[in-house]
């Protein structure tokens, strides 16, 4: 039997599993191919919704469903934590000692936040990268009655690159709506020399920041937080006072990828071929989504467009045929909505060679994002879009 093992039950892992079933159904039913997904919790979480717990009245319960309910019944779901991958002997070992052999391995292991990498982050900074943290940010905003709000990024790369700008715009709109804007200053700190990594997006958002009187600080790499003086300090030597500090926490890849020698420390991002999505020199290991080191957004959308590529390559290997490059080469496609505030949004769509040309923000793209979020469970994981 040809065993396909997928580590991770997020967007990339779930979609890849369901797409593989569509292509290999007969072989699976005949017992020639086995397909398993390993997930730590068995719960599929829609992370883009976290921001709306803080900013849009969303509830955590709506953002989580059992992974089993999203997977085709032909897929075996293993709930467990990975301890190590022995790529040479093609075995994954779980922390409870269970060994899982494979012929094809898919690493859809995502990224994790490491707020503890910055002293006082947990007690001083708010964020929206877990449901609980987003709920705490909501409480902090409710208690805020004017003062200095500082938003920033405490490590790159991080999940959903537009998110901190979106939250800045949404907070600014909320302050206006609550009549607090005239006694509130908002600072936005970017680690690089402009507001956003992609130049065309930066050109779009910089005037919007100015128009909304959000002060942009470039080359501000968060180095330390001084809780006594309520100051956030940058590596570049600047410091900003805050009453409410909202920071994207530092992110890393999974520790077991580093322990297994597949991803270099300290980042833990898998060295991934930009077209084939193969990891290092391994002919039978693929990575997608946040886990890769590709110069793309760490976002569900990236995994969404990478899953068909991994599927085609694994199916070709199992069927003993050449890869159809039209379907088996990743061109870097990513697409995501971008909130601007006041019920408006825009769309970022790009690939390796075509930077985004965001349309003028309007209500339609904001509504598009809301509809996409609400219908996600019936579309993306099941391979319907």
């Amino acid at each position: 039997m040809e065993r396909i093992l997928i580590l991770g039950g997020g967007v990339g892992g779930t979609l890849t599993a369901n797409l593989l079933v569509k292509k290999l159904r007969a072989r699976i039913d005949r017992g020639e191919v086995g397909l398993s997904v390993v997930d730590t919790t068995g719960q599929h979480v829609y992370q883009p919704g976290f921001m709306y717990i803080a900013m849009g009245g969303e509830r955590a319960a709506n953002l989580q469903r059992p992974e089993r309910s999203l997977l085709d019944k032909r897929v075996t779901l293993v709930i467990g934590e990975v301890e190590r991958i022995d790529a040479e002997h093609q075995v994954v070992t779980l922390t409870d000692g269970r060994p899982l052999g494979y012929e094809q391995l898919v690493l859809a292991t995502g990224s994790r936040i490491v707020p503890e990498a910055i002293e006082h982050f947990d007690t001083e900074a708010q964020h929206f990268y877990t449901a609980e943290a987003a709920a705490r940010l909501r409480v902090a905003l409710d208690q805020f009655n004017g003062g200095r709000i500082v938003l920033g990024i405490a490590g790159m790369p991080y999940k959903c690159p537009p998110a901190p700008l979106e939250v800045a715009f949404l907070i600014e709109a909320e302050m206006r709506q609550r009549g607090l804007r005239d006694r509130t200053t908002i600072d936005y700190c970017s680690p690089i020399g402009r507001a956003f990594t992609i130049e065309s997006v930066s050109e779009m958002v910089t005037p919007i920041l100015a128009e909304k009187a959000i002060e942009l600080h470039t080359f501000f790499n968060v180095e330390a937080i001084d809780p006594e003086r309520k100051m956030v300090q940058s590596l570049e030597g600047e410091e900003l006072p805050y009453d409410l500090l909202v920071l994207v926490p530092p992110h890393q890849g999974q520790q077991f990828l580093m322990d297994s020698g597949l991803a270099p420390a300290p980042g833990g991002w898998l060295p991934t071929d930009r077209a084939t999505l193969k990891v290092g020199d391994w002919p039978n290991i693929y990575a997608l989504g946040d886990a890769t080191d590709l110069p793309l957004s760490k976002a569900g959308s990236t995994a969404h467009f990478e899953a068909p590529i991994v599927t085609e390559r694994i199916v070709a290997a199992i069927e003993g045929r050449k890869v159809d490059h039209k379907h088996g080469d990743y061109l870097g496609k990513v697409m995501c909505f971008f909130e601007i505030g006041d019920g408006k949004g825009t769309l970022l769509q790009f690939d390796y060679t075509h930077p985004p040309r965001p349309p003028k923000p309007n209500q339609l793209w904001h509504l598009g994002k809301i509809v996409f979020n609400k219908t996600y469970w019936h579309t993306v994981p099941k391979g319907r879009v």
């Binding site: 790159m156 790369p157 680690p191 690089i192 020399g193 990594t197 080359f219 790499n221 590596l235 570049e236 030597g237 300290p266 110069p295």
Partner: protein, 84 residues
């Protein structure tokens, strides 16, 4: 161990960020700066065209010193001294 370039600058650490795209090379340099002692000389290799403008701007803002910026075969070599 320190190595010498043809401009006789003693390099204490080399960051090969070729193949990485903006802001990858800058972020790699920042990581190296964080991990190094004052006085360290770091050479960054970058094939991203943005690096030769982004990195010098960051170096100036962060109070370090740009020692050299040379076009090599298909990439730029940017040498920075950590000053503080």
């Amino acid at each position: 161990m320190a190595t010498m370039t043809d401009t006789t600058i003693a390099i204490t650490r080399t960051v090969d960020a070729r193949g990485s795209f903006c802001p990858g090379p800058l972020m790699e340099l920042i990581r190296a700066i964080r991990e190094s002692q004052v006085g360290a000389v770091i050479a960054v290799y970058s094939s991203d065209k943005g690096s030769k403008t982004d990195i010098p701007k960051w170096v100036e803002k962060a109070g370090h010193r740009l020692l050299s910026l040379e076009a090599r075969d298909g990439y730029d070599e940017i040498v920075v001294e950590k000053r503080r």
